[in-house]
């Protein structure tokens, strides 16, 4: 479990992370979503002690990272694809890390197999593609069989096969009871694999809620699209029931304030043949764009979702 409390990081006059608080709980995948420069990587680096917070604190399983006796066995982190010596082979890179924790050589072979790198284990990292580098980074994170995983943009540079693999992997790791904390700017990616999403913009938490809650809060949520041969009659009938109706250029109606069932029964009552009736669910993409675009208005510390920022 990762607990971040009122974390702030300033570089001179720039505030990269501004009073961020959230918890990434065990047994679930927590997504960390935000545009470039929002403070995602800085927050992750502070979790593993590469950077020190200006104020606030962050603990993993209740301990400061620097106080953990065998960090690789507690936290596995993949922060940057360029975190290895290009002149070393994949095998030697992992072996060097394993040596610092007395992790047996067999575990190195195991994670190489797990990440599909056996065939290139003897090649120098210099010759690796971005995707292979990502896989090696994930292999290094898994090396100590840690209870907490921190992955910064893990699907970056992966082919569709690799993306599917990462998605399955993080789900499996969380199902085993581990804490998985991963950042992405790919919103649909988090929609597919995260249980909970922390949205960050300009160093502040904009939302911290389950993925479903965030999607439901998007602008399109609650919108029902209906197409009928009797558009005008239905428009009047729906307006009478207090719905907010908009006529689209293609002749369909966008209805807010009524459920699919209510609209369906209304249409049946007035005898308007329904050609199409569908509830539009918002996507995480839209929710994200709305949140980050308006990030200035949330400066007072208001958050969407279930929790108020502490």
């Amino acid at each position: 479990m990762i607990e971040v409390e009122a974390l702030t990081k300033r570089y001179g006059t720039t505030t990269a992370v501004d009073g961020v608080s959230f918890t990434a709980a065990a047994g679930m995948v927590t997504g960390f979503l935000g545009p470039n420069g929002a403070g995602k990587s800085t927050t992750m680096r502070m979790i593993v002690g590469l950077e020190r917070p200006t104020t606030g604190r962050v603990t993993v399983d209740g301990q400061r990272y620097a106080d953990v006796a065998a960090p690789l066995r507690v936290v596995g982190a993949m922060l940057d694809a360029r975190s290895m010596h290009p002149g070393r082979t994949a095998h030697r890179h992992l072996l060097a890390l394993a040596r610092t924790h007395g992790i047996p050589r067999s575990r190195v072979e195991e994670v190489l197999g797990l990440t599909g790198l056996e065939s290139v284990a003897g090649r120098r990292v210099r010759s690796f593609s971005l995707g292979m580098g990502q896989r090696l980074g994930i292999a290094a994170a898994l090396l100590g069989d840690p209870g907490t995983l921190i992955l910064d943009e893990p699907v970056n540079g992966l082919d569709p096969d690799g993306v599917l693999w990462v998605r399955g992997l993080v789900r499996d790791l969380a199902a085993e009871g581990r804490t998985v904390f991963l950042s992405s700017h790919l919103m649909h990616e988090l929609a597919l694999c995260a249980d909970r999403v922390v949205v960050i913009g300009q160093g502040r938490v904009l939302a911290d809620a389950t993925t479903r809650q965030i999607v439901e809060r998007s602008e399109r949520a609650g919108l029902v699209r209906v197409r009928t041969a009797e558009a005008d009659a239905l428009l009047v009938a729906l307006a009478d029931r207090g719905a907010d109706v908009e006529v689209r250029t293609d002749g369909s109606l966008h209805v807010r304030g009524l459920s699919v069932e209510e609209i369906g029964s209304t249409a049946a009552r007035i005898g308007a043949p329904v050609l199409e009736l569908a509830a539009e669910t918002g996507s995480l993409e839209e929710a994200y764009l709305q949140l980050t675009a308006g990030s200035v208005q949330y400066r007072s510390g208001r958050t969407l979702g279930g929790e108020v920022s502490r």
């Binding site: 002690g49 950077e51 960090p71 940057d80 360029r82 975190s83 290895m84 002149g87 070393r88």
Partner: protein, 246 residues
């Protein structure tokens, strides 16, 4: 990785090669003494170890590997201590090999004149040991500067500046401010040392002179060299423990 081995091998090869050339060039001299060629390649090997040290000292940061390293071992100073220990062993090994190759390189010329080089003789052994200490120490100076500065080119410029340019400038400056007639005016005895010359003795080159029997004692040379390791190493330790690793 590869560049480290290349630099190490080049240093050993240069030490042997240049010594061989010097020895064979002077082997036709009437008073040829092969052991005199032993020190010829030392300044060149010094540069080799300086480069080697800088490469090792900066490698974590020039490659980005420091992220993996310091995530695995958050106690940063123990990483630095480990690096210093490894570099000491490695530099000493390269230094022994370089000096060893110099010794081997004088053998053909000595044999051509039927001379058996007397390695145990008058100061020769001390000179050889001094060379090993000088070369190892220089490697550590490079590594310490590299660990502090972190960027290879900047570290190399600093290392060359401190070890080669600064001493030369000081000696030239001392010559300029010293009255060449002062010695004769003082009645033949040598003139008192100018402050610049004193300062020059505390540069790595001054340490080399002490270690290679020319000036002062060997202990003085060791201490001056150790100072040039400890200073940048302390700066590196402070930077490492106080600052963020980005």
């Amino acid at each position: 990785m590869r560049s480290t081995w290349v630099a190490a091998l080049a240093t050993v090869a240069v030490a042997g090669g240049l010594t061989y050339l010097d020895a064979s060039a002077s082997s036709s001299d009437p008073g040829f003494d092969p052991v005199r060629s032993l020190g010829f390649a030392v300044p060149f090997a010094t540069v080799g170890l300086l480069v080697l040290g800088v490469l090792v000292g900066t490698s974590e940061f020039s490659t980005g590997n420091f992220r993996s390293t310091f995530v695995a071992v958050p106690r940063r100073l123990s990483v630095l201590a480990g690096q210093v220990l490894a570099m000491t062993v490695f530099a000493a090994l390269v230094a022994v090999l370089a000096v060893g190759s110099s010794v081997l390189a004088i053998l053909p010329s000595a044999a051509s004149r039927g001379i058996t080089p007397d390695l145990g003789g008058d100061g020769v052994l001390r000179n050889l040991i001094g060379s090993v200490v000088l070369l190892s120490g220089t490697g550590l100076v490079g590594a310490a500067l590299g660990a502090w500065v972190r960027r290879p080119v900047a570290a190399l410029v600093a290392a060359v500046g401190i070890c080669l340019v600064l001493p030369m400038v000081l000696v030239l400056a001392a010559d300029l401010v010293t009255d060449p007639l002062a010695a004769s005016a003082a009645g033949g005895s040598s003139a008192p040392e100018s402050p610049l010359e004193t300062f020059a003795r505390f540069t790595p080159t001054g340490a080399a002179d002490s270690l290679l029997w020319r000036e002062g004692g060997a202990l003085q040379g060791v201490l001056v060299l150790a100072g040039w390791v400890v200073l940048p190493l302390t700066a590196a330790a402070i930077r490492l423990s106080r600052r963020d690793l980005v």
